[in-house]
């Protein structure tokens, strides 16, 4: 997979506040890369730097293996914060201005308007649009000229459930075409549903980065039970990485210091001569993991 974006020690302060601290990460072609963090964690600042809106204090980044330029920005479609258009111009005219800036033709305009469900309203002035429609027009403008990368900053922020579903549907469609997506969100659920990879950011610092699948696969608690419960308790406490256990309703909830697979436990118990009649992994949701990461780094 070729590298789309590479950042190196990106750092930015606003006065005394360190918005982003030495952030290094890589986004590869085809990834749906989520930047996850609570409000004020530096997500928007990071994206602003990547789009040359805010100069970094230190560090740098490259797009498509080249140093950033307006040519590289033309290959990127982005929706940052609020949709910015001329209120007195209609949807088509606003998109034409965007197409002119990006050096793209107008042929894509009907297509992106249909994709975002705005074709019927193409001749309405932007100021008459509802919030959801504005957000979709921003997405339409980002999709003009078939960009290689789509940058989305809180794309569903402030939308009603229907609006959220519409936006996510469009993102999923675009991702399925192989477009690389960089998405910032404070919603775990969103990242979990849309992204393939995730970077967790808090107070400008990277806490974690990896595949969403990997994050979800981590399990550090297991439920077990057997005929001989005292022997089971005794055996499990000898397991390497054992941390604590709680007993409830005839099952043991066992916590470990690191990730443990069901297979390892089963093999271990078997060697101790204990036959388990119940064994289930308790996968942590991304949310738990996220909250734990935040807690660890307070």
């Amino acid at each position: 997979m070729s590298s789309i974006l590479l950042t190196d020690q990106l750092t930015k302060s606003f006065g005394k506040i360190q918005a982003v601290r030495q952030l290094s990460f890589e986004v590869k072609k085809g990834q749906v890369f989520g930047i996850l963090g609570p409000n004020g964690s530096g997500k928007t600042t990071t994206l602003s730097m990547l789009l040359d809106l805010v100069p970094p204090d230190k560090g740098g980044f490259s797009w498509f293996g080249e140093s950033p330029s307006r040519e590289s920005r033309k290959r990127i479609g982005s929706v940052i914060e609020s949709p910015n258009f001329f209120p007195y111009l209609d949807a088509v005219c606003n998109l034409r201005i965007v197409a002119d800036i990006k050096d793209k033709g107008y042929d894509d305009i009907p297509g992106v308007l249909r994709l975002t469900g705005l074709y019927e309203r193409r001749n309405s002035k932007f100021r008459t649009f509802s919030f959801g429609m504005r957000q979709r027009l921003a997405l339409a403008s980002a999709l003009l000229g078939d960009p290689e990368v789509l940058i989305l900053d809180e794309p569903t922020n402030g939308l009603d459930p229907q609006g959220i579903a519409q936006i996510r549907e469009i993102i999923a469609l675009v991702a399925s075409k192989g477009t690389t997506i960089l998405l910032a969100s404070h919603l775990l659920d969103e990242v979990q549903k849309i992204c393939t990879d995730v970077l967790v950011l808090n107070k400008g610092k990277m806490l974690f980065s990896g595949e969403v699948r990997e994050v979800l696969a981590v399990s550090d608690s297991i439920e077990i039970s057997a005929e001989d419960m005292p022997a089971l308790k005794n055996a499990v406490s000898q397991f390497e990485g054992f941390s604590s256990l709680t007993e409830a309703d005839g099952t043991l909830q066992v916590h470990f210091k690191g990730p443990v697979s069901a297979m390892e436990i089963n093999t271990f118990m078997f060697s101790k001569g204990i036959v388990l009649n119940r064994l289930s992994e308790r996968k942590r949701s991304l949310e738990q993991h996220f909250l734990e990461l935040l807690r660890e780094n307070v």
Partner: protein
């Protein structure tokens, strides 16, 4: 260049505020120029009522003086403020609607953005000057007939002078709009300064016995307006002892051009350094 012009044209083509203000500007301007002679002569009549020897009536629309007179009336601050306000609105809109930010995100360079606004200033000044020159030619033709190419002699320097006034004044407006980023605030401050603060300062600086220097010629708005200092009315000259301006002096052009150049430099530096 063409691309930037295409983009800017889309922004103003259906923008009602732009066309209404431009229309008002031309109505004010035409009314001012066409009523100027009538108003001057009604003052003359008023004076004549109390004078034993009547002054002759004044004519301002004949060649070649009409060029100078129109250039003078067109650069009166109350009229010149219109294109300036248009410029303030066009630049502050970009901040209000955050479209400047979006343009950069979409791949326009910051320099390109500024150049696109400077192109609009240049083009507006060119169109307005051309229309006024054409109108002046018609007025002159209607009042004195055209039989000699020499009658255009004053046209080129005075219309060029007006063109420079217009460009510089719109650059001042662009500067204020760019720095303040807020439409209402920028219009208020610009209008207040142009129409009230500077005339008051000018009045005190020119007051005899206080300042015996020409510092007042360096006031920015004044420098723009004084490019075409007085109308060419020989009778007034005799009456009031005014020196008639024979031509637009090159030296007087340097002051507003200097200010405009400094402002453009500041805008470029701010654009580079500041977050959008």
């Amino acid at each position: 260049m063409i691309k930037l012009l295409k983009i800017e044209w889309k922004k103003i083509r259906t923008y009602k505020v732009f066309w209404i203000l431009l229309g008002l500007y031309f109505i004010f301007l035409s009314a001012g120029i066409l009523l100027a002679e009538f108003m001057i002569n009604s003052m003359v009549n008023n004076v004549n009522n109390r004078m034993p020897i009547p002054f002759p009536h004044i004519a301002i629309y004949y060649f070649p003086d009409v060029w100078q007179n129109v250039a003078f009336f067109a650069s009166i601050r109350y009229v010149l403020i219109f294109p300036a306000i248009i410029m303030i609105i066009l630049i502050t809109n970009e901040f209000t609607f955050k479209t400047i930010r979006q343009s950069i995100i979409n791949g326009m360079s910051k320099i390109e953005f500024l150049i696109s606004k400077l192109i609009i200033i240049l083009l507006m000044a060119l169109v307005i000057t051309t229309l006024i020159a054409a109108g002046t030619f018609m007025i002159g033709l209607g009042h004195s007939g055209f039989n000699d190419i020499a009658l255009l002699s004053k046209g080129v320097p005075f219309m060029t002078g007006f063109f420079i006034s217009l460009i510089c004044y719109m650059i001042y407006a662009f500067f204020i709009g760019f720095i303040l980023r807020n439409t209402g605030l920028a219009i208020a401050i610009f209008t207040l300064y142009s129409l009230i603060i500077e005339p008051v300062v000018y009045f005190f600086l020119r007051a005899p016995f206080i300042f015996r220097n020409t510092i007042y010629t360096y006031l920015p708005v004044n420098a723009v307006i004084r490019l075409t200092e007085y109308p060419a009315i020989p009778t007034l000259k005799k009456l009031m002892g005014l020196d008639l301006q024979p031509h637009v002096s090159l030296a007087s052009c340097f002051i507003p051009i200097g200010y405009a150049a400094i402002m453009i430099c500041i805008v470029f530096i701010v654009m580079r350094k500041k977050d959008i």
